[in-house]
Point group: C2
Chain length 474, copies 2
Amino acid sequence: MRPLTLDALNQQLQTVQYAVRGELAIKAEVLRDQLKSGGADLPFDKVISSNIGNPQQKGLDQPPITFTRQVAALTEYPALATLAPNAFPEDVVARAQELLEDIGSIGAYSHSQGVPLIRKSVAAFIEARDGHPSSPADLFLTAGASAGVSLLINMLITSPNSGILIPIPQYPLYTAALAQHHGTPVPYYLDEEAGWATSVPSIIDAIKKARAEGVEVKALVIINPGNPTGGVLDAPTMEKVVKVCEEESLVLLADEVYQDNLHDRANQPFTSFKKVVRNLQSPVPLVSFHSISKGVSGECGRRGGYFELVNVSEEVRALVYKLVSVGLCPPLSGQIGVDSMVRPPKEGEPSYALWKKETETIHKALASRTNLMAQRLSALPGVSCVQSPGALYLFPRITIPAKAIEHAKSLGKEPDAFYAMGLLEETGICVVPGSGFGQRDGEWHYRLTCLCPGVEEYVGKLEGFHQAFLKKWA
Amino acid sequence: MRPLTLDALNQQLQTVQYAVRGELAIKAEVLRDQLKSGGADLPFDKVISSNIGNPQQKGLDQPPITFTRQVAALTEYPALATLAPNAFPEDVVARAQELLEDIGSIGAYSHSQGVPLIRKSVAAFIEARDGHPSSPADLFLTAGASAGVSLLINMLITSPNSGILIPIPQYPLYTAALAQHHGTPVPYYLDEEAGWATSVPSIIDAIKKARAEGVEVKALVIINPGNPTGGVLDAPTMEKVVKVCEEESLVLLADEVYQDNLHDRANQPFTSFKKVVRNLQSPVPLVSFHSISKGVSGECGRRGGYFELVNVSEEVRALVYKLVSVGLCPPLSGQIGVDSMVRPPKEGEPSYALWKKETETIHKALASRTNLMAQRLSALPGVSCVQSPGALYLFPRITIPAKAIEHAKSLGKEPDAFYAMGLLEETGICVVPGSGFGQRDGEWHYRLTCLCPGVEEYVGKLEGFHQAFLKKWA
């Protein structure tokens, strides 16, 4: 018997990188276990996982929306409507009944594309958002946005020469999916000086460069609001992006999972690519992704989301249907979470007041933490941080002293990974180095979520570590 | 702008076939919609989806286990413990509290491998089942067994020449995953005359034939109890299978999702491959898959399951960890379903009596329906049906009259697909033709689930259609 070793396994998969749950996150778990067991002498009393946008994580304490959880509990155990009649508002009982009539039991497989009633709710949500029709037939509910992104990338890659344009910095799901499905990432650079703006000339340059290298560029990924940058695209830029896709025959993959995380809604609103494509009457094939993991919902653990196909032919849709069918159906608990997200209580309904209070509290807290963190980080020597108008993150740029760079390299580490490991070991704060998202050569960043409780104490730790780091490596 | 057409998409994915949700299932949905809208004049008043093992599906009415749903509802909405103190037995409240202490909120991402506490429960379940140790570190919770199978096949395929042995007939997930990841299925035939027994000589023949054709045979899939056959392997055969894997350096992929669906437990018990491998002190790398979708749990919609790695090195396990991390985590609702499945109420606990009654009722009903259906089908002219001791299905063999075969071929259809379409259109019963699972040339079968209510009426419809079909095409 020959033992099973890495060389006998798919080599392509071994190139996959996913920094968000990489070396630092693994180390953070080790430290957390050490604290729990009590034996370790560490310079902090808790580990804060700022490496992943996980709002309801223990210690971050973004509470779930009560309406969402009440509907979920009643669909899990419908007898509660009778057993505990006073525990649920009327509109929750009605919603659960309506869902159960269509679904039957949430322990049953649904339609491969997702429960028809819930797809109707999503279509109504999209229509209200964009002012353009949406059809449940073009909607595919998914286990979070990641599952859909991975599927679409798999479909678009026809050979190792197939390229997909991805922003730099990017969310590493894209490079991971490209590695897994043996495609070529075609990087285009976001403009940090312009608040991480999407630069159309940079996209065109990237296309030219890739073609010169023999890459067939098939699709363009836009993350809006941006991850890790928090940038929000304005409508004129989006129109230019759609025009580029038309001219270059690109499929547009719009990762719009942070569409409800906006810190300055009046001045920097979210516009969907669906709306822009329809306004322009453009034929660009578009796939738009959304999720219940972010926004005020923050229901990462349910694994729910959807994508909408726009300007996609019936035969391509049938192929998508066949492929999702092999996975049977998205989790029902996630699907029901999607329904609650796209169809929240309306004014006048019993659950409305509490829902409004809860969502406003979350929006306000996130905006105020993001602003405060960006200001305080920018005030540090050698740090500049774009004041992000959207998403859950900041992506400060850090100047790392030459001595520290040298030392990091002698350890075989990226300098920003070395910085982030120091931060974790000194403060218990786990962030992700910029090298995990991509950045220009010679630049260093890290991504942190804006989800901590006790922001003053938290920022104080970031400041203290940075000052000491500069001093140590001066 | 060039529109997005199939020729611009991954050709390999277009070869994927998944009959369980194929042409017949799609037609069944159309008929169901026609019945709903009331306009159609159809010779039946309901569509019965016998094409998929979906116990809690509307109209099939296998009820969920109350304990499972009570725990689920309390973890969704923990305030219920206070709001509705009399709605939950004490052991349910305690279980939900224990889970929430480890998980925090079920709206948070968990560890990529699954909640540590739940992996501990699974390890204890495996140890009690097999009498051999199991480590939570070797366990990966999944979104149903399918997600795990697909991942492992992806990992094992290093080139289009990589082959994986699959039983014929097989569950089409295997050929679908092989097509998706561009590997080669290496079929070995189960022995219908011996009750769908797994034939070790047939496995060895298949390996020889594949190698002669230049295929590198990397792994062996065993489905036990069988899908679609319902066959259950005996321990001596399993030992021989493990020996073959040793001699031929094969990874053993054991699909054991039906391990709790046994209709004659005393005479045809389930033995896990983990137990056999450990009893033999064999070094064979084994991946064993389990799921909450089948058994008495029947919680398909939650998407929960796990796999255990046995005799797999630390570096391979680290690769699996990295790959599952890209998908973030399995659905929490599925994970909690796994906990309820592997850790049901114990004798003496408040929920035990009801749990016992519910599970015994499900086991008994399934066994009696399976036996009755197999007997009655076997009594039909031109039909033989193995009396399956396990799983949820029967796979009767049908003799199709020459004229019907000719007619089917003139329509470009497989004869058994033609038969199944007739059955659907005449009776509203949706089954899957044997051609969707694989069978010997010139043989015809179909797979039906044993999950219908009103078995007498149901079997009467099967009988009536078959008689009329024979008469029509005599």
